[in-house]
Amino acid sequence: MAGWFTSISTWFSNPEVTLGTKLLELLFLVMGLATGYVAFKNLLDKTNPKRYGTFVFWLSLGIVLAFGRFISPKINGVLILIMALSAILRQVGPGKTESVDPAYSQKMSERFGYYIFIPTLSIGLSALAFALFTKLGALVGIGFGVFLAIVILMFMNKDNKPSTFMNDFTRMITLIGPLSMLPMLLASLGAIFTKAGVGDVIAHYVGLVIPEGNVAVGLVVFAIAMPLFTIIMGNAFAAITVITVGIGYPFVLQYISNPAAIGMLALTCGYCGTLCTPMAANFNIVPVALLEMKDRFGVIRKQWLPAVIVLLFQIIYMFIIK
C-alpha cells in the first residue's frame, strides 16, 4: 500500500509529465471520489432493494476512474468485469434522492432570473478559455468550469450546500446507471478486436472481392467500409486504424496523389456510421436516458438520414480531391 502511494506521488512530481496531464488525472480523481460517494450513499440506503449491487458497481467504477493509472492493467480489467457483472445481473438501481420541487425552482427563478445563466455558461466558457489560452486542454477547463459553477451557485443561494450538489449528482448519475461505463467498454472492445486480428480477417475477405488497382471501386469500398465497421464497433477511432491498414492503403492510398486528405476524410465517413449505431452509446444511448426518452433508438432515428446524405457528399468530395 505504501509503495503504491509512493508511485502516485512520484508520478505527480515527475517534471516530464505535463501540468495538463497531471490536472486531468486530478480531475479523474475527483470524478472517482464523487462516484465512490454514490456507492456508499446507496449502500446505506435501506430503501434501495439493490443496494449491494449498486454499491459494488459505483465503487469499482470510482476506483478505476480515480486510480486506474496507478493500478496494474489486469486488476483494472477484473474491476471492470465486476462492474459489468453487477450490471448484467441487474443488481444496479437508483436509491432514494430528494428530487427538485417545481415550486422551489420556480421561486428561485423569480429570484435569480437570467443570472442563473452565469454558472451554466461558466463550464463552456472555461473550457473555451483553457483550450485557447492555456496548454492544459479543454477537459481540464471543463473541470475548472464545474468548480467555478459550484462556487457561484453557493454564493447565489445559501441553500446550495455541498450536500445539495452531492444529492443532485447522485440523482443524475443513478438515472444514467450502468450505461455510464458503456463508452469506455466499447472503446475496449475495439482494442480487443484489433489485438485479435479481426481487421486482418476482414481485409483478407475484402481483397477477394475488390480488383486490385481499381482505385474508383477501392475508394467507394473504403468510404463505405468505415461507417459499416464503425456501426459494428461503435467507435470510428477503432475502425480507422483497422480499415486504413486493411483496405485504405492496399486498395486506394498507395495509388493516389492526395492520400493524407482521403485518409482524414475516411474518419468522418466513419462518423456517419457513429450516428447510426447503438454501439456508440455515449452519443446515441446515454442521451436517451438523460432526456428520459421512451424509444431506445429515438436519437438514432433522427440521425440516420442526414448521416447517409453526408456520407454521399463525402464520397463525391473524395473523388474530386483525390
Partner: protein, 232 residues
Amino acid sequence: MIKLLGVLIVILGFALKLDSILIIIAAMVVTALVGGLGVNGMLETLGTSFVANRGMAIFIITLLVTGTLERNGLKEAAAKLIGKVKSASAASVISAYAVMRLIFAAFNVSFGGVAGFVRPVVMPMSIGAIKSKGLEPNLEHVEAIKGHAAGAENVTWFFGQVLFVGGSGALLVQSTLKNLGIESDLVSLAKVQIPVAIFATITYIVYTLISDRKYMQKYYGDKAAPAEVKEA
C-alpha cells in the same frame, strides 16, 4: 473466419435487443479466446484501454452541477427567455444551437453535452417555443424534439471537432498514415474537413426544419395552421 465470431455476437445481440453490457462482454471474451489473447491478454487489454479512455467519462463531472442548476431555476429562466422570441419554433431553437455548437466544437469546446446543456437549456427552450404559441406540447412531438436536439448535438460535434487543429481524430489519422509511409500536417487535415462540416450542419438544420413543420401540422393541425399561412 472464426475470429469474426465476436462481430457476429455484437450484430445478433443488438438485433435481439439483449442487454448492451452483456453483448459487449460476451463479444470480448469470445474474441479474446478465439483470437489467441487468452484470459490474461483480455484483462490487460480491457484494463489498459478502459483507463486510457476515461476522458469519455467527462460528462460525469458536469453532473455535479446539472441537477443543482435545475434546482435553482435554470429551466424556468430558459423558458422565460424563449418566451420573448415570439417567432421562435422548436426547430429554430435547435438550429441556432447547432450553429453555435459547430463553432465551439471547432475550438474543441463542448457546453457540457446532453447532461450539461441539452437537457437543462435546449429542451426547455424548445418546449417553451411551442407553449409561446399557446399550444399544449404533444408527447410524441416532444419525443421527436428530444431526438433532434441530441442529433444536432452529435452531428455538429463530430464534424466540428475535426476542425480543431491537434484534435485527437486527426492525431490518430496522422499516426496511422505515418506507419504506412504517408506524411501529413495537422493544419491541412483540419482544412480538408471545412466543406464537410458546413454541409453536415446545413443538412441537419434543413432536416430538422422540415420534420418539425410536419409535426406541427400533424399534432396541432388547425391551431398551428394560421401561423403557417402567415409564414407563407
